[in-house]
């Protein structure tokens, strides 16, 4: 690319040498210090070769001496382009204005993308939060303190444990990682606290690092029972208040329910649809319609946003499209087996969310039909940590 650019500014010519002794001419050319490239045989009597524009006169002299005809096939040079367009002031001014405009536009953010966003926080919510913090469409990208914005975002969002903002041309890429629930717990040892039971169960193991245990292995406890006290008698017989730390595992019972209707509403498109477009110029929305009145009783709404881009360079021009498609809604019964598959998938998802820290030792599923819904009730026997701290 760079070599091509240099060659363009230096100027290159593709010439066709018509002679039976082309090799001899090329050797003389080389001995004269002329570089050439892209040597190709055109036919038996001629070859084409590319040389620098400044070497054309040397080639002409050599060809004259060897009685060889030459033909210029292509001539590429910056000054040829300049000569061609030098009197076109409008084009020149337009190009200069475009360059200035692109330069100015590149100082702002015109597109925000979120990467690594899962279920806990939605993409639009993250974009809205960053906009409140000062990073959004239309903001000056060089005046932003990105690390400060990242820190403030992290402080406001407990579900996110890492965030990074990267600018690429006029697009801001927000990359984040959400907490999975397995993060390292940091204890504030300066604040005293007790440990209580989070749920009913029978204790099967107990490791108390700090505090005085009030229950023993084998005891049955109810949710809310105090398990470890903050009052601790040290080896000298003095009572001190500590931050209780303990891992208390108990055998617990858990129940998860999943309900799936045995009928589903089917949206059948009638074929009628209405689209409304709006232009977004420099963050100002200009609707291209007078009123957004919909005569359809039932419809599906789809929205789209198309940002005008030159390569990766997002421009401050985008088009919003909102389409209302008329549908007929009808309720149809779904097969029992299919409903069961859906319910089991939902149950498995809930299990992942609620029992991700528990060890399941037994699981029974009961299925019944209640008011036209398939209800799956799963009973779990688990071993899990039931300790939760309560401070002042």
């Amino acid at each position: 690319m760079l070599a091509r650019l240099v060659n363009f500014f230096k100027g290159t010519v593709v010439v066709r040498l018509i002679s039976s002794q082309c090799e001899q001419i090329l050797n003389v050319l080389h001995r004269k210090g002329v570089d050439f490239w892209k040597l190709q045989r055109v036919d038996e009597q001629s070859v084409s070769v590319r040389i620098f524009e400044k070497d054309l006169s040397i080639l002409k002299t050599i060809c004259k001496r060897y009685h060889t005809d030459i033909e210029i096939l292509d001539h590429r040079s910056a000054h040829i382009v300049y000569k061609k367009y030098r009197k076109r002031w409008g084009l020149l001014i337009g190009a200069a204005a475009m360059a200035v405009l692109m330069g100015v536009l590149s100082c702002f953010i015109w597109d925000v993308r979120v990467l690594g966003c899962d279920e806990k926080t939605t993409e639009s919510e993250i974009i809205r939060q960053f906009e409140e913090l000062g990073l959004g469409i239309g903001k000056h990208r060089y005046g932003l303190d990105v690390s400060d914005i990242e820190n403030r975002f992290l402080m406001e969002n407990d579900d996110v444990f890492w965030v990074s903002v990267n600018m690429r041309f006029t697009t801001a890429y927000i990359e984040l990682r959400e907490k999975t629930g397995k993060e390292i717990e940091i204890y504030d040892l300066t604040s005293p606290c007790d440990i209580y039971a989070a749920r009913d169960g029978q204790i099967i193991s107990m490791i108390t690092t700090s505090g005085t245990p009030l229950v023993n292995v084998g005891d049955s406890v109810c949710a809310g029972d105090k398990l470890v006290s903050r009052e601790y008698i040290d080896r000298y017989g003095e009572s001190i208040i500590v931050h209780s730390i303990a891992t208390i595992k108990a055998k617990t019972q858990r129940v998860i329910k999943s309900e799936t209707p045995l009928t589903e509403s089917v949206h059948t498109p009638t074929g009628k649809s209405k689209s409304f477009f709006a232009l977004n110029l420099f963050n100002f929305k200009i609707p291209l319609y007078f009123n957004e009145k919909i005569s359809y009783n039932n419809y599906d709404l789809t929205e789209g946003k198309y940002i005008l881009k030159i390569g990766n360079f997002a421009l401050p021009f985008s088009v919003f499209r909102r389409t209302y498609s008329e549908v007929e809604i009808s309720n149809t019964e779904i097969e029992y087996e299919r409903a069961k598959v859906i319910a089991l998938a939902d149950l498995s998802q809930q299990e992942k969310e609620q029992l991700f820290e528990a060890e399941i030792i037994n699981k029974t599923i009961k299925e019944e039909t209640v008011n036209g819904n398939l209800v799956l009730t799963a009973q779990y026997q688990c071993i899990e940590n039931i300790a939760y701290t309560v401070g002042d």
Binding site: H30, R31, D35
Partner: protein
């Protein structure tokens, strides 16, 4: 049997086990797969066609046989031949 001739400088470089390509001006030929041949120390083109390119170097000629051969560059004694190379012969 004809004895192999070394110049004094070449003998000195050889005796010290120095890399000959760095200290002795020899023709350097590199073949990249079957598509590209780079000859450093090329002095001229003896013959050129799409099937045969004969290159003159300091010591000997090199013949490159193949199909759709073209001399992609000849600058500062470095020549690059591209195409479907079938054989490289030292004449």
């Amino acid at each position: 049997m004809k004895k192999k001739k070394y110049s004094a400088w070449q003998g000195f470089v050889h005796a010290l086990s120095l890399p000959e390509d760095a200290f002795v001006s020899q023709t350097h030929v590199e073949l990249f797969g079957q598509k590209e041949l780079v000859v450093s120390g090329a002095r001229g083109i003896l013959e050129y066609s799409e099937e045969l390119v004969r290159i003159q170097t300091k010591e000997r000629g090199i013949a490159v046989e193949g199909n759709e051969l073209r001399v992609d560059m000849f600058m500062e004694k470095v020549m690059i031949v591209r195409g479907k190379i079938h054989a490289v012969l030292f004449e």
